[in-house]
Symmetry: D3
Subunit: 144 residues, 6 copies
């Protein structure tokens, strides 16, 4: 078990973008957009939970490096299945922010689940995946 | 935004079981089971990350109640797509442990991703979902 | 330095309510309610930060007991000086939730500051104080 | 909701100084300085809580950047109303430490409250505010 | 990897006491008691760090249960080798507080090291061990 | 109480190595290596707990600087008394990683204790100490 050595890498600009879907009943989606959820504003809470999870990534993922995050955004929009979530994270550091972007969409998706679970326990989170990364020794990667 | 009042509920035994899949290249699965991953033992790290995430749930999910967890296990086995993860969490408290079980599979799945991402960046996490819950006012629910 | 012994106390219903004011320029208040703040929705972020701070109280206040919070809400409304914040926290435990309620208004007020500081660095946080508590050996207390 | 992009800013020396007052009964102040507080040494605990809160700032303030703090001190002295607290925080990073200094005085002030609340529940925390900042694109600012 | 099931155990009073020694140069011990340490009051900082570590135990020790701590104290006194540390922790819960007491002495001892390391890097921490526990199914145990 | 100013120091490569022993009954050591511990794989859990504790160091040790860790490993091997643990941590930052290495061995040792305490409550942790550090203004130090 080791946190691999990144001390020899350059501090360079790096970006990562991840996405996830939350599949839910149409009635649940309607509740969200009509502000009828008892716990409060689902989209605001989920976005904020996503941004905060970026900063908890090294605590959650055992072998992840602590990183100096320079930007983080979470976007949520309706889609066929329910909600589509995207997170983009940037850093100027020695290793990438893929895990930070993935943690952000996961925490945002789970926050949606938490706020609606009393009315739609069957929701599922799908296709949690990296979409794009750039910067660093391995360069650019995009999902095709 | 509120953490809803559960003070009037009974402290009773509650259990929740959640699952997730990590879809990966067959070669990645092989690496895991042959112990050829640079960062270390993937299954041990993922299970432990899952159990630890149970305890971080109230920090990650903004409107979740802090809860007195009495048991937590994470199981991982190979499946058609890669790995199948299950978490079971128990409590004797005023609210359920669905979010704890979901956070556990989420952190375990992301730990798998983290440890293999340098060789298989395209992995995705699928069907993060509740399988079963029992106890509390709303009783038993099982995915059908 | 000690966390005093509460083991002999009863687990009973307890509630605490705290408040604070954020004094700001009228133009800053207008920005908040017109949604013109670059970082996002100030009131939603501040309320959520307040609820989450309830759960971080034992980490922030060295001699505070970890407590089983059963409810938490943060309310924010405009007032003469800028914003008036209130937090109410409940528990069924061996000690009160005064510190949790105070941490909630503190974190909510600081989140307001953070989101507006680039345009109004002179804001100040005033009258962070307990308004009311009930339950426990010392009974009810209200600010007069 | 976003953590704004600071990746294009320079890593430069930055400093921030914040202050707060804790208004209390004269008898409470006397207890502190005569070491008659059951939980222990109030000033030592409050200063330490303040320094530690500097490091928890990104966890408490949702849209704050994690930052590489290079120095932090908390000072406390008696004043007309009770106690006057000051915190000074330094960094060599891409964004300022105003929030870190404000979190420090807030946590220190709340620790004072916690340690004395059984004898003086009416204490209030006043004028939590930035006093001075220097460094970075926006340069020097001082309260007048 | 599992957090074993304690849901069937009774909530009863439990106590644990742990100890540790910090072996140091006589000159270092003198510095501590004469208040000549640049970072500040070593004994106050170490005791407070110990009490706070009690609350971080479930985050540090992967398979530990989160527990409702009802009391915690840390004592430090000079001894032949340097400093002798003791921590006592109590709970009324389903499992014991041995790990909490051990984490407390560990964090207190490491805080001593941190504050003196610039003048005495060779210090060592010895005999970190449980001294006594009582309560629970396995009853009383004392080191002989 | 202060976090001393390291802002004037250079960001340079620094390394620290710490060690500890866990003294246990021969039967306990056997259980570990034969995989007969109810909670799971002791060595994997202890190593992971050690690496994760590196990242919690600034939360545990009050006056420690948050640091950009670039590598961390924990090794465990059998020895006369039971287990010998070593941690090595690297950074490219303004201050050293001695505390991170010491926290790693402590958390790893306590995890061993936690997983075996039901069968060997008398275990003790011995000689928690720095073995080597290099880099920074004070240069290289090795235990002799």
């Amino acid at each position: 078990m080791k946190m691999v050595d990144v001390g020899g890498k350059e501090r360079t600009e790096r970006v990562a973008r991840a996405s996830a879907k939350v599949r839910m009943l149409p009635a649940s989606l309607e509740r969200i957009y009509q502000g009828q959820v008892e716990k409060g504003d689902v989209l605001a809470a989920a976005k904020l939970a996503g941004v905060m999870a970026v900063k908890r990534t090294p605590d959650l993922i055992p072998l992840c490096h602590p990183i100096s995050v320079s930007a983080a955004t979470v976007e949520i929009s309706p889609c066929d299945e329910g909600l589509a979530l995207t997170a983009e994270v940037k850093t100027v550091d020695r290793t990438g922010v893929e895990m930070e972007a993935l943690c952000a969409v996961m925490a945002a998706a789970l926050t949606v689940y938490d706020m609606l679970k009393s009315v739609d326990r069957g929701m599922s989170i799908e296709r949690v995946q990296l979409e794009h990364k750039a910067g660093g020794r391995t360069g650019t990667w995009s999902r095709t």
